[in-house]
Amino acid sequence: MSDTATKTAPTSEAPAERRLNMIEAINEALDVTMSRDDNIVVMGEDVGYFGGVFRCTAGLQEKYGKSRVFDTPISECGIIAAAVGMGAYGLRPVPEIQFADYIYPGLDQLISEAARLRYRSAGEYTSPMTVRSPFGGGIFGGQTHSQSPEAIFAHVSGLKTVIPATPYDAKGLLISCIEDNDPVIFFEPKRIYNGPFTGYYDKPVQPWKKFDASIVPEGHYTIPLGKARLANEGEELTILAYGTMVHVVEAVCAEKGIEADILDLRTIVPLDIEAIEESVKKTGRCLIVHEATRTAGFGAELSALVTERCFYHLEAPVERVTGFDTPYPHSLEWAYFPGPIRIGEALDKILAE
């Protein structure tokens, strides 16, 4: 495999086998960067004294003071806009949007302002902000606590979109995002905050402490944006996924005994096109899996890229497995979720060609 795709959590970098879940890893990334640079400020609904509804910012206000970690009004527009102004001043704000579903009132500030500021001012002003937001379904959040809006951001010139799938990646990627000079959306798959799972609603999440990807080194380390992670190596097909779905496809492949190259994309903008091309040209088959709705989802972009660049290496049409084009239903969320049955059928179809 190319050096563009890096392997899972190198244990050599972890002196002690210290295992964290994703929430703890995110908290540690914030702590590490805040202790190094006092221009970093954390803001958002409930992030201060309470430490965030998912506890990602716990303890930070106590450690860094109220002027660097503070609660905000329930105004996503105001949160993102204030972060644009803070960035123009020279700070590095890390705003939290409590649920990705709530990001829409802040969209104009993200799309028209944060993303364009460098371009429209020819580099005079930039928006070095990292917007953190839990996203995705699987926690019975109904249609307003389950969405995956990453494709909206991927469509916008000037924004980077990052989605970790493991605690090791969450810490290293978040540090990279905070230190990046471009505005970044950091989507945290909340279904796997506490551990990976197989995709079956009746099977619980496995605690992170069982997995090497939860070995998180202390201190500062970074994972470059735009480099995919080869979560599993195999010859039969290439599976492109990110966030929660990486764990679901891993489980399905293990269950079915399929040897797949599973590429955890980590960042969808910038995208590791080299790793994708190399893998698909090797296996000749490609499945794309994401949780977001299907039509004009990021899978469509991936499918187009693979077809454009690897067509003569393909032995089967590129397949997509996605959520349905409906809002996320509360009581039937497991019927919506792209789980093992939907993924399994697609795998059978691709491998039969």
């Binding site: 204030a82 644009v84 803070m86 500030q109 302002e113 429209r120 000079n181």
Partner: protein, 443 residues
Amino acid sequence: MAARPPAEGDRNAASAGDNRPALSLHVPEPKYRPGDAVDFSHIQVPEAGAQARPDETADPKDMLDLAHDLIRVLGEDNKAHGPWDPKLDPETLRTMLGHMAMTRAFDERMFRGQRQGKTSFYMKCTGEEATSVSASMALAADDMVFPSYRQQGILIQRGYPMIEMINQIYSNRGDKLKGRQLPIMYSSREHNFFSISGNLATQTPQAVGWAMASAIKGDSRIAATWVGEGSTAEGDFHSACLFATVYNAPVILNVVNNQWAISSFSGFAGAERSTFAARGVGYGIASLRVDGNDPLGCYAAEQWAANRARANAGPTLIEFFSYRAEGHSTSDDPSGYRSAQEREEWPLGDPVMRLKNHLIAIGEWDEERQEKMDLEAAEYVKKVTKEAEANGILGHGLHHPFRTMFEDVFEELPWHLKEQSEQAIRERETKFPEGLPNEGKGA
């Protein structure tokens, strides 16, 4: 399922047996349309000097009347009156007049330039010069401003090179924004002037964020932002007010009420029910309503607010009550929606004339010097325009190099933009093997 039976009496109209009165929608309508005679007697113009000037750190609750009143300094006698008189020395007043005259001369020339096809678009600020020039003079040069699109007076007051303004308007190869922004959407970090956005009111909560950052860092600089009264309808403006008051941000929210948002009169932003200054009252923000055509009143209010912010006493919302004498932009024709008489009948006069008359009234100016100043301003703008034209005008080839189109999207060029950049260069070479038409001409 059975079809819905026909309703017994249409709910859209009061019917027999229903004694509830029918509701009706109110759609605001300006008082005067083209051809109408104008009568502005309903606009209450209080006597200059009659408004109290609270202490700069006073509680907003103790100045509620100032959100509905109209702070005025210059009276009908062209003299300064009352506690808001900023008592500026004649030299400062002449400087203020000079910046306002220069702004007017600049507008004149650029408007003509657009009509001559040198650029696509222009927006004049005629009649509103005091709301930017005078206000800006009350700020420190290192205070950060987040303007809207009609505050060219700030750049002129801050000494931004005029050639940079014109290069930007022409999108030529001298344009430091690389020809990306609509004409008049300037940016100058060096002059603490934020990049202007085309999306309305977005700059207002950003200014609050900047001011919060200044407070976080224990800095002494403050921020000021300008927004039109029409754009106060945007949610961003309300986010700005809320964040400003919640964090006691050292920021000044200037609302330029010029009565018109393109063809929509201020009633569509809520002016029929309240003043724009009064929007601040509900948030607990110190709120002042000022005669926006009174350069001394504008200066005094902005200075009051700046002192308040610097004393860590919090934000101020200022409504500059003014009038947009010209069209919204070169793409607008105000004769299509408002009475031509409005401009001449406007009860608060013209800010440039009022300041000129004040200086004359105190024996520090005369018509001859004014004429000379206007002439010099016009000639200066003409000279700088010529210099800028040597860098090219819109659509005549002297633009930034092709590759710059792909720069600054991200800090570094990612693979997909590299590929698209190469494609664009290939396309150009195919279409113009000898180079772009007029390329290199006029250097």
